[in-house]
Structures are given as structure tokens and as C-alpha cells.
Amino acid sequence: MEEKNYYTIDPEGKLTCMKCGIPLVKGKAKFMYLDNGFPVELPVCPQCGFVYVPEELALGKVASVERALEDK
């Protein structure tokens, strides 16, 4: 069965990893907070594993899930 993804962003080749000099690709990542995990697909460097969290995501969905978990 396919694993659920809470959020997906495809970098479409617009982001470059400065360390490895290659484009970021849509890759599997996981947000962890207070012992809770959320699988997501985010821009990831296929070589060094750098995961990019865009500003809108951090201040939007991520922040609201943080607040919700903090009240658990």
C-alpha cells in the first residue's frame, strides 16, 4: 500500500544544492515533532540529503500543525 504523504512539493529543477552542485528533486522526508511523525515529499538533494522547507510551508501548514500538537 502506498504510504500517505501529508504534503508534496516538486522543485521542478528550480532549486540547486550548492554543496553537491545538482538540482533538488522531489524526495521522501518526514517532519518529527513531540514524538509525532508526518511523512511528506519535499525538495531533497539526491546526494547529500538536504531537505528544503519553503517559507510558506514553514509559516503555514507546519506552524499550524505545531500549534495543534502543542495543545495535545
Binding site: 550548492m18 554543496k19 508526518f38
Partner: protein
């Protein structure tokens, strides 16, 4: 400085299911009982029929007579007769009687009955009850009881010597002096009622006894009972004779319209119990008049008299509206009026306390009240404004401590402040005796915010004190621990307390010197240390006289009293005396002194809930248009941030001006600068400041965002340092920006920047999140 090992840990998991009661049920009830918000208005409590006279007057005042009539008919099946004959005890209890004349309730009731319209649309079809009731005789009690029972949907049979309904009704009211138009009004209602009259029938004792076989409840007028059953002794509270099994009363229940109406309500309730074959004395709820503990502030109410009628038969509709508009809608909102926090959540303390108590008891699931718990400034204003001293701060503080103890308290709302406290007591901490003294008689403790907001003032104050006081004045720059106390982190608070005590002992050569506090909150916190003598700098300045060079403002000023000085009248007075000596004219506001609201910094509201903190500041500033003089640096800072001219009293005493409010990074920088400058210039200690080996510039937008998002320049530096060391960064081709990140403590910080050259960065934006991100 404080132990480097002390960490502020994020709680491990949301899956911790622990619970400790924050209060016993008795303690909770005791606290709740202090809040009188839900107590009935004086008129409502005085009405034995339980008319909601307050809501009634409100509707009448808004010219909503139909609604008012509906409220009145709820308690009066024959409204015109009741309004005409009621003795109106509510009028004597009206709060306005204390000032002038109370509301003419009965006159307004009469007008409402006259001009109000009953709904023409038929309501839901109401099912008749199966149990039947018979009523024997006539009179006010039987009339009203009939009305009550019809309203309750009993199939009602009336047996009486009067031949028809009109005569039966007239017989009932003949002694009550009810005007003809009222009789006509209620006769029309009676004729519409669904009941059976067996007229022209003189009931006898045997018939009444036998009725119990045919009907589920038997009611008899007091006059018939007295005549047919001389041995009867009905219970006046229940309107019931247990031996005869009849609902009835003595002659007293016919004493007047109101007495009969009240007796009819009691009798109707007994009928409800009897038809279910239950004891009529049980489960009756509250009946009759009640006591009220309501408090209503009439300070701003102008005394007024009743509106005279110019019509023979009472008020016109317009007059009734105007008379009803005199009603002040008695209620207690003393705490809410002065508190932006209670206004924000639109809840009075009793309900807020109950919800917080329940929230703390939630073992698994959402804690909906965490935000309100952390939004209170713990300032204690409500303990003064509430007529019963309700202490919302204690509730919220206890709840925070409780949540910390059960590991339910999230770190996020308070982490920045807690880290700031550690900064104050580590990097920025300074504790030195005055040069030339092994130990000192005094120590100046200005408070963390003083160093953060007005470092020059701190320096001037200590220089002055140490030059004029005998016995040496040490200096301690640090945090008193209020931050962790407010956050509910009681273990950390004890650690800070021990640390401060230890450092103080060193300064005094074994015993702590007399502390001269520069901040009322520090003073309050430090007074809680065993054996510590603490004075306010304001007291010391009045003892030794103000230094040369002080200058007051040349406009009238408002003094904003610090919440830390609530109850400390000597401190409040001292500030005014100093302001007077500096030539300032003070205008007092309604919320001066002990009634002062919090500026929004207290209780960490400014960190945990910026929206409420902003509302608190606004409320403070709405009290006066004058510049504000404060004696807490946090108040000074928050008012200045909102654009109001505000000065700390010590700035004026020492002729310093801290200027525009610093941002969060400048607040740290100011503390470090103060410490390092003093170490170098006073104690000749060389300080090596190691900055980054690259240049960082910020766009104004970035600085604004960082302040909003509580991101320090030091966080940005750490991210860039990490990016330089690891090479980890990305380039966004669309915006042309580089983006780097680093995990610092419990958060990941991201920086968007451009690079002019290898060693020069221009930061365009920064953001953070607490979630950790991993690949899978």
C-alpha cells in the same frame, strides 16, 4: 554565571498521559463562588414568580414589547390582572433606589400588557398530558392555578357555583380592585383557554373526595376547604394537604394578587409531582424569592426619578420605553472593564476558571484552554477590581505549573523568554563588588529589562548610588527569575533563586547585602528570598536626595503603576514624590495605583500571545493622552513601541534618554555592551569579543520580519556560520536567493540571502519552524 548544564528541554512526547489535579473540587468551588457575574439582578431575586425583570426591561427599553410580553406571560397566565394587582417587591430592591427612584416596574408591565402583541402564528402542536386535574371553587388561587395547569397542558376541569367563565373570573378578582380593562383583557385570554367548566354546581365534601377516583389530581379553593374540611391543615410551602390528598391553601394564599400567583406556582408544582405519584415535597428546585450576591457599580450612574404618567391609566408606549431605558441592567463586570485579557476571551472569571480546570484535567486530546492559560499577564489587577478579590492570576499560574509538572506544557510559548533569561544569567551576567570593597553593604539589582532597554540609565544609577552610599554598592546584572516563575517552570525558578542567593552572599562577604532593586517585579521576587532585605531604588533616592541633573517633562504626565508594585503603596507614592521633585505635573487615571493594568509584558503574555499583549498595551494607553512615566522598564518599552512617549522615572532622574525601543537583538546587544563596557572601564578587565569573521547586512524588511518572528541576529549568524562550514545551502533560481539552515536548540532556522562576495552577506528574510525534518 548560571550552570551551563541547565537546559530548557522540549517535552518529549504528546503521548504522555499523566494528570495531577490543580485544585481540589472544594477549592475550585470556593474560588468560583467569589465571582458574582451570574448572580441574579436585585429585581429578579426579589420576584417570587421569578420574572426575569432585567431581560424584560431590556426588551421594553428597546421598544420590543412583544418580546417583553412573552417574558411576562412566561410567569403570568393572566398578565393584566397580575400587572394591575402585583405589589411589585422588585421596585423596592431596584438598585436605582440607592441613588434616586427605582424603576416603575409595574407601570412598565402594564404598558407591555396593553401594547405588546402575542404571537399570532401558532406554535408547535402541544400534546395534552394524559393525567387530568380537577379544580373546585373560585378565587384568585384557583384562577391562577387553572392558568398554570392549562399552560402545562393538563386536561383541566373546573367545578364551580358560578355559571360561566366571566362570572367565575369576576368572583376571583372582585376583592383585588382590578380595573375593568385588565379584567376584560384576561377574560379574553381565559375564554381562549382549553378547559372545561362545570358551572352552577356547588361542590360538596363527598364529591371532592370522590373526585380522586376520576382525576389524577384534585385542587380545592381555600374558601371551600375551610368550609367543607375544617380539620384541613395544608402545608403552605407545598399547597397540599396530605391527609385529604388535595391541593389547596389556607386563607393567606388569597392575601393578594402576588401571594395568590406565587401560591398557584407552588400548587402547580405539587400537581406535577402528585400526578406522577411522587412526594410533592421532593425535587422542587428553588421557589419564591432568592438571595443575590450581585455587585453593581453605580459610581457613574446619575440619580433620576420615575417618569410621571400623563394618562389616567398609566404610561403611553413611548413613556414606558423611556422609563425602561432608565434601567441600568445591573451586572458585575468590574474585572472585565479593566482587563484586556478577560475582554479578549469574553469570559468572566468563574467560567474561565472552570474551563481551565477542565483543560488541566484533559488527559488525552486537545487542550483548548492552553492559549488563555498562557495569555494572562498574572498581574493581579482582578484581585483589586473584583469586589470579592477574584484571583485569575493564581488560577493561570497554578495551571501553568500543573502543566509543567505533568509534561503537558509546550515549550514554544515561553522558550524565547526562558532562553533570554538564561542569556541574562550567563553571557550577560555580571556580579561585582564596588572597586575598593571586598564586600559591600548594598547591591544594585536593576533587572534584566533595564539593561536591555536603557543601559546608560543603569550605569548612571549605579555610578550615583556607589558614589553616595556608605559601605559600598555592588552591581548585579541578571534576571531575578520572574521569567521562569511566570512560565510555571518551578524547578528552574528554584535553581535561579539558589544561584542569585549564592552570588549575593559572595558580594556581601558571607551574608547577602541589602538589595536595591531597580524594578518592582524584581523587588517582589527577591523579597520572596529568605532573609533578604530589599529596597526600591526610589526609596533610596528619596532618602539620600535626588542627584543633580534630573529633568522632568514639561507637560502633564500620567504615571503608569507597575503590576509588580500592586499593593506597594509606598513605592507608588515614592514615584509620585520623585516626579513632583522633578517638577512634573501628574494626571491620575481611573486605573492608577493598585488598579493598574499590565502593559502586556507581565506573565510572558508578550511572548506567548502577542495579540492579547498588544490589546493590553492599547488598553493602558487609552487611559490618558499624556506621556507615560513608568517605573518598570518593560512598561516603558511596550508603550514606546506603540508610539507613545514614555519614560522610565530613572531616565528622568539621571537625565538619560534610552530613545527608541530596541528590537530583540538590540536588547541582547545592550546587555552585553553594558556588561563589557563596565568590566573594561570600572574593573579594568579586558573582554575579548569574538564576532563572526564575515559581514552581515540586513534589509529593513528582514529586520522587521526577524523581530516579528522572534529570530535573533545571533541565530542568523549561527546559520551562516554553519553554511560556511558545511557548504550546505541551496540556490533558488527563480528568486536568485541562497537559502541556508541550521538546527539551533529546538528550532530550525532558515536564512534567505544574497552574497556580494565571499565574506559579505545581505539577509533578505529569515524564518523558523520547530518540527525537525529528516529524510526517509
Amino acid at each position: 554565571m548560571m550552570d551551563e548544564q541547565i537546559r530548557i528541554e522540549e517535552r518529549g512526547s504528546t503521548h504522555v498521559y499523566r494528570q495531577i489535579k490543580m485544585l481540589s473540587e472544594e477549592e475550585l468551588v470556593l474560588r468560583e463562588s467569589r465571582c458574582v457575574y451570574e448572580q441574579p439582578a436585585y429585581c429578579v431575586a426579589a420576584c417570587p414568580l421569578k420574572l426575569d425583570a432585567k431581560a424584560f426591561m431590556d426588551a421594553a427599553a428597546k421598544d420590543q414589547f412583544d418580546k417583553a410580553l412573552q417574558l411576562y406571560e412566561k410567569i403570568a397566565p393572566f398578565p393584566a390582572i397580575l400587572a394591575a394587582g402585583c405589589e411589585a417587591p422588585c421596585e423596592h430592591k431596584c438598585k436605582l433606589c440607592e441613588l434616586g427612584e427605582g424603576i416603575a416596574v409595574r407601570d412598565v408591565e402594564q404598558a407591555v400588557v396593553r401594547y405588546g402583541k402575542r404571537p399570532t402564528v401558532k406554535g408547535f402542536l402541544r400534546m395534552k398530558k394524559k393525567q387530568t386535574v380537577v379544580l373546585f371553587g373560585s378565587g384568585l388561587l384557583i384562577l391562577f392555578l387553572t392558568g398554570e395547569l392549562v399552560k402545562k397542558n393538563y386536561p383541566v376541569t373546573v367545578v364551580s357555583e358560578e355559571p360561566d367563565l366571566e362570572q367565575w373570573l369576576r368572583a376571583a378578582v372582585e376583592k383585588a380592585g382590578i380595573p375593568e380593562d385588565a379584567v376584560q383583557h384576561d377574560l379574553a385570554l381565559l375564554k381562549k383557554m382549553d378547559l372545561t367548566l362545570r358551572g352552577a354546581e356547588l361542590p360538596d365534601a363527598q364529591q371532592i373526595r370522590a373526585a380522586a377516583e376520576e382525576f389524577n389530581a384534585v385542587c380545592v379553593s381555600p374558601a371551600l376547604t375551610a368550609g367543607l374540611f375544617p380539620e384541613a391543615a395544608p402545608d403552605q410551602a407545598l399547597m397540599y394537604d396530605r391527609d385529604l390528598h388535595i391541593v389547596t391553601g389556607s386563607g393567606e394564599s388569597e392575601g393578594g394578587v402576588l401571594a395568590a400567583a406565587e401560591a398557584a406556582k407552588r400548587a402547580a408544582l405539587s400537581v406535577d409531582r402528585i400526578v406522577q405519584k411522587l412526594d410533592p415535597s421532593n425535587m422542587r428546585g428553588t421557589e419564591g424569592t432568592s438571595e443575590t450576591r450581585l455587585y453593581t457599580n453605580t459610581e457613574k450612574v446619575q440619580p433620576s426619578d420615575r417618569l410621571p404618567h400623563d394618562m389616567a391609566d398609566g404610561y403611553s408606549r413611548e413613556q414606558a420605553v423611556r422609563e425602561a431605558q432608565r434601567c441600568i441592567q445591573c451586572h458585575c463586570d468590574e474585572c472585565i472593564k479593566g482587563c484586556a485579557y478577560l475582554q479578549h476571551y469574553k469570559k468572566y472569571p468563574r467560567i474561565l476558571t472552570r474551563e481551565i480546570y477542565n483543560n488541566v484535567g484533559v488527559i488525552m486530546g486537545d487542550h483548548m484552554m492552553n492559549k488563555p492559560i498562557n495569555a494572562c499577564s498574572l498581574c493581579g489587577q482582578c484581585t483589586v477590581t473584583c469586589p470579592n478579590g477574584y484571583d485569575m492570576a493564581e488560577i493561570c499560574h497554578r495551571a501553568r505549573q500543573n502543566m509543567v509538572s505533568t509534561d503537558k506544557m509546550a515549550l514554544a510559548p515561553h522558550e524565547f523568554a526562558l532562553l533570554d533569561m538564561l542569556f541574562s544569567n550567563r553571557e550577560a551576567f555580571l556580579s561585582r563588588t564596588q572597586p575598593g570593597y571586598e564586600s559591600c553593604k548594598y547591591v544594585f539589582f536593576p533587572g534584566c529589562q533595564a539593561g536591555a532597554v536603557a543601559p546608560e540609565t543603569v550605569r548612571a544609577a549605579w555610578t550615583d548610588l556607589s558614589s553616595r552610599l556608605e559601605g559600598g554598592v555592588a552591581l548585579m546584572l541578571g534576571c531575578c527569575g520572574a521569567i521562569c516563575d511566570w512560565a510555571g517552570r518551578y524547578e528552574l525558578y528554584d535553581t535561579v533563586k539558589e544561584f542569585i542567593d549564592r552570588e549575593l552572599e559572595k558580594l556581601g562577604g558571607g551574608t547577602a547585602p541589602v538589595v536595591i532593586a531597580g524594578c518592582p517585579t524584581c523587588m517582589k521576587e527577591l523579597k520572596g528570598h529568605e532573609g533578604l532585605e530589599v529596597k526600591g531604588i526610589w526609596d533610596v533616592l528619596l532618602e539620600i536626595g535626588l542627584p543633580e541633573g534630573g529633568q522632568g517633562l514639561d507637560r502633564p504626565v500620567a504615571v503608569h503603576d507597575a503590576c509588580g508594585a500592586r499593593g506597594d503603596h509606598a513605592a507608588q507614592e515614592a514615584i509620585r514624590t520623585i516626579a513632583g521633585k522633578l517638577g512634573m505635573e501628574i494626571t491620575e487615571t481611573e486605573y492608577s495605583g493598585d488598579r493598574s493594568p499590565c502593559c502586556g509584558y507581565g506573565g510572558l503574555t508578550a511572548y506567548a500571545n502577542k495579540e492579547v499583549a498588544h490589546e493590553m498595551t492599547e488598553l493602558c494607553l487609552s487611559r490618558s493622552d499624556a506621556p507615560y512615566i513608568t517605573y518598570c522598564m518593560a512598561c516603558r518599552d511596550r508603550f514606546a513601541r506603540e508610539g507613545r512617549q514614555s519614560r522610565h522615572i530613572l531616565e528622568l532622574v539621571y537625565g538619560t534618554d534610552a530613545g527608541a525601543p530596541p528590537d530583540i537583538s538590540e536588547k541582547r546587544y545592550n546587555r552585553m555592551r553594558l556588561k563589557n563596557d563596565l568590566l573594561k572601564e570600572v574593573w579594568n578587565e579586558e573582554v575579548y569579543e569574538v564576532g563572526p569573521d564575515f559581514d552581515i547586512h540586513y534589509t529593513p524588511e528582514a529586520l522587521q520580519l526577524m523581530d516579528q518572528r522572534m529570530i535573533l541576529k545571533s541565530d542568523v549568524i549561527d546559520v551562516l556560520k554553519y553554511a560556511r562550514e558545511s557548504g550546505e545551502a541551496i540556490l533558488d533560481q527563480e528568486s536568485g536567493l541562497y537559502i541556508a539552515r541550521a538546527r539551533i536548540g529546538n528550532a530550525t532556522f532558515w536564512v534567505k540571502y544574497t552574497q556580494e562576495n565571499e565574506n559579505t552577506y545581505l539577509v533578505r528574510s529569515a524564518y523558523s519552524h520547530r518540527m525537525n525534518i529528516v529524510t526517509r
